[in-house]
């Protein structure tokens, strides 16, 4: 078991390296020199060259990568071309905002999905199951930018109950733990939670229904277990596939949604990425994508390990 865990962690290293190469080269796939778009056309060539040297754009690309990787490994992601502040600071702030929103969406989506999907799976084929399935399909098929805008129109504009955009009064960039700030969370949380809610609810429903169809469930009943006792077995059996999907959704949610964060002007990583793309802020782009991708890799690793402890058959592979 320990050996398996170590092996899984070792596997993650080349994946992380691959991710870093992709992140780094992504920027070079786009045409144009990032500096050119930033500088006025009449910038003297010496100034351009000086800036190029400062950001390392004058070196051959593989050297640039190694140089960048070396810095990244020591925690230095460079400075933002747009704001001139260290990239790590920008990412840190955006990430904490996104994590806050993501955590709320995860809490809402996962809880509701388990309840909705569980009920659907248990009552497989009955009317309540059909209702539940419709909710799930609705969640998956409604585009979240549309839902976001509708929610804003209804609750912010028409009813004037909740704030439409931002994180708090006066364009605050940090979150306060007061009731007023909580209001800013509600609409983006709902908007962000809907798709993962639908996807996970469908998976939970399918897994529960599948497990209940297995022959061993009859053995459990023949053993004289109560419905609660049977449920304990169903949960552990259904957990592995559900966790896989949850892990993926978790990755998406903590990665931040460009669309949702833009609609609600939520200053998270999605918002940061969007601005970085518009401004061709290469260091920010590279740093943010790398951090998000690594978090994704880490989430997957954790899900893998969790699945392994739940289902002994996976260990053999």
């Amino acid at each position: 078991m320990l050996y398996y865990i170590l092996r899984r962690i070792l596997y993650a290293v080349p994946i992380a390296l691959g991710v870093s190469i992709v992140c780094f080269s992504l920027v070079y796939l786009a045409p144009g020199d990032p500096l050119q778009t930033l500088l006025p056309d009449d910038t003297p060539p010496e100034a351009v060259a000086e800036l190029k040297a400062k950001y390392g754009f004058d070196r051959p690309v593989p050297m640039q990568y190694l140089f960048w990787l070396g810095n990244v490994l020591t925690g230095d992601f460079g400075t933002s071309i747009g704001t001139g502040r260290p990239v790590i600071e920008e990412i840190g702030r955006a990430l904490s905002n996104t994590l806050l929103l993501g955590a709320c969406a995860v809490a809402v989506a996962f809880t509701l999905a388990i309840i909705i999907g569980g009920v659907g799976g248990y009552l497989h084929g009955k009317v309540s199951d059909k209702v539940v399935t419709s909710i799930a399909i609705f969640g998956v098929s409604v585009p979240n930018y549309w839902l976001g805008i509708i929610l804003v129109i209804v609750f912010a504009v028409e009813l004037n109950l909740l704030p439409a955009v931002g994180m708090g009064k006066s364009g605050s960039q940090g979150f306060g733990l007061d009731l007023e700030s909580l209001k800013y969370l509600i609409l983006p949380t709902i908007t962000l939670a809907l798709v993962p809610l639908g996807i996970i609810a469908r998976t939970v429903r399918a897994s529960v229904a599948e497990v209940l169809g297995h022959e061993f469930v009859q053995t459990l009943r023949a053993k004289g277990l109560s419905e609660r006792g049977v449920l304990r077995h169903v949960v552990k059996n259904a957990a592995a596939p559900v966790l896989a999907v949850m892990g993926l959704q978790f990755g998406h949610l903590i990665g931040g949604s460009i669309v949702v964060e833009t609609v609600f002007s939520w200053p998270g990583t999605g918002f940061l990425l969007n601005n970085a793309i518009l401004r061709r802020d290469v260091p920010i782009l590279q740093g943010t994508i790398l951090v998000l991708a690594l978090m994704f890799v880490l989430t997957n690793l954790l899900v893998d390990l969790l699945q392994t402890t739940l289902d002994p058959r996976i260990r053999r592979a």
Partner: protein
């Protein structure tokens, strides 16, 4: 046990006019159509029949394990004094596993794959005996040793997929017997196993039955197995017991044409060189049973009377009970 129990009361399982209907999209399937029998404590009854004749459904009905929303069970089932078809869900759960227990055909799929064997036995013991999981594990170890699982202590922490088919079926038996049931239902417990393992499991079951004195209902489609383990045989066809009697009587003097057909279509007890005969035709559609004897369309001796009504059970002098109008004339129809 009291010494002077009236003979009628000493039966531990009493089944009367048991019918099972499944309601599905393609109509109503009737796999069990008026089964009646009783089983004394410590007796072994073998239900013999082709696949699809309703053996498994009958056993499941005895424990009320069939999905209640799509199934209609009628008739009367009494196990150790409990009215199974009328009992509450809670008292049924208390009965299952402790008083009446079941071994399934597929040891491969009968265990939960994500819990250890020990946990799965301990869980059942804890549920019925109200003891801790720890005590349950002690009992599980005892049971694995009883069913002769080698290095039982280690197997306690094994997952089902880590055991061979034979060991898994032994573990299944250990599970089923862990709360000392008075009735054991065994649904083709050896069919999924290799021939040598089959014999070992049969021997084990027989010796455990004698040691523990349980009543056993043993389902099989294998005549040899039936002859090996049972006191009485019930031959099942299209959801009815067409012939019931002691092993010797049924195997040596079969009366019902279906039983005779079954016997002549197996290798057991046939002189060498005899040609094996198969019964022509196929079993009836359980959605549309004929109004008379359901074997009549395949029967070489069918007459008009067979088609008119379902033959009542006739009891022969030997004690055999046969549902066939051709049964010898001197006998009395059972009421």
């Amino acid at each position: 046990m009291l010494t002077q129990i009236p003979t009628q009361l000493s039966s531990i399982v009493d089944v009367d006019d048991l019918t099972v209907e499944f309601h599905g999209r393609e109509g109503t399937v009737r796999p069990v159509n008026g089964v009646a029998f009783s089983l004394k404590a410590g007796e072994v009854l073998c239900i013999l029949g082709e696949s699809g004749s309703g053996k498994s459904v009958t056993l499941r009905a005895l424990m009320r394990l069939l999905a209640p929303d799509r199934t209609r069970i009628t008739g009367h089932v009494e196990v150790a004094g409990h009215d199974v078809l009328k009992a509450s869900g809670r008292s049924m759960a208390a009965l299952r596993g402790s008083t009446i227990s079941m071994i399934f055909q597929e040891p491969m799929t009968a265990f939960d794959p994500v819990y250890t064997i020990g946990d799965q036995i301990a869980e059942m013991v804890a549920q019925h005996k109200g003891v801790s999981r720890r005590a349950g594990r002690t009992r599980a170890l005892e049971m694995l040793e009883l069913v002769q699982v080698p290095s039982a202590k280690r197997r306690l922490d094994a997952y089902p997929h880590e055991l061979s088919g034979g060991l898994r079926q032994r573990a299944m038996i250990a599970l089923a017997l862990s709360c000392s049931p008075r009735v054991l239902l065994a649904d083709e417990p050896t069919t999924a196993l290799d021939a040598t393992v089959q014999a070992q499991i049969l021997l084990l079951l027989r010796s455990l039955q004698q040691e523990l004195g349980m009543a056993v209902i043993f389902v099989t489609h294998d005549l040899g197995v039936a002859a090996e383990v049972s006191d009485r045989i019930a031959v099942m066809y299209a959801g009815r017991f067409v012939e019931t009697g002691s092993v010797r009587d049924v195997l040596q003097d079969p009366v019902h044409p279906y039983t005779r057909g079954l016997l002549s279509s197996t290798v057991h007890g046939q002189p060498r060189g005899t040609r094996l005969q198969t019964i022509p035709g196929s079993p009836p559609d359980l959605r549309m049973l004929p109004p008379g004897c359901s074997f009549e369309p395949r029967c070489g001796e069918a007459i008009d009377r067979c088609r008119a009504a379902i033959p009542p059970p006739y009891t022969l002098k030997s004690g055999q009970c046969v549902r066939c109008v051709h049964a010898p004339q001197d006998l009395v129809p059972a009421e």
